[in-house]
Symmetry: C2
Subunit: 136 residues, 2 copies
């Protein structure tokens, strides 16, 4: 009988390993560039494909935006994003959420996280001078 044939390919291992080795939150394209040295023939779509898959399997985090960014850490944590330069950093704060309203709406809670926006130290200092504003 046919068992489901799930393969552990070199590219899959390296993509996950590389993402996990980073403290930053790369885009698919940035990760693709990083990985090129280890896997010169890899295609960008393979990176996308596997990132999306890891995300759905709960192995990595995904931060939606334009473009999306990925996160090798899965321990529950939050992000703070600089509204000027777009950089995202980790933030380990405990956020207590009252579930009463959630129950009232009839939802079964899965996960939650806080998205914090601010001005990073660097941009804050520079804000008196020129203004360079990123999108996303």
């Amino acid at each position: 009988m046919k068992t489901k044939n799930i393969k552990v390919t070199k590219q899959r291992e390296i993509i996950l390993d590389e993402l996990r080795s980073l403290v930053t939150h790369p885009t698919a394209d940035e990760l693709y560039t990083n990985i090129k040295s280890r896997l010169p023939r890899v295609g960008l779509c393979t990176v996308y494909r596997n990132l999306e898959r890891f995300y759905k399997e709960g192995l990595i985090g995904k931060i939606k935006g334009k473009p999306c960014r990925y996160d090798g850490k899965i321990e529950s944590h939050n992000h703070i994003k600089c509204i000027n330069c777009g950089k995202i950093e980790d933030l380990f704060v405990d956020i207590p959420v009252d579930t009463v309203e959630i129950d009232k709406l009839g939802y079964k809670l899965h996960s939650y996280k806080v998205e914090i926006n601010g001005l990073c130290r660097k941009c804050n200092k520079e804000s008196g001078r020129k203004k360079h504003v990123n999108k996303t």
Copy 2:
């Protein structure tokens, strides 16, 4: 001398009015479709342009995703999203965030909101049967 000449156009008024009249969180395209009856000759890019502008002016909210969704309410509130069907509903709960860690990182706090994921009542009931999963 030239004063800045900011115009209140019909399309701008209608786009904002229409978004505010909704309790849902439409995409630019959905809003564009709604508006067609009131402004038959409007272009999709005008809708995008103005939504982006309202967002930057702080008049409306924007929920990033693929595609992005817009929110006519600005009073601080949070969203709960169904991980199965993708629907987003409002959630008015007070979430206190400890700013000590934020200060430590040197950020100047601007705003924050909680993104909650769960299974809505409808999808929860149906989850025993077929599984229809949306993207975003």
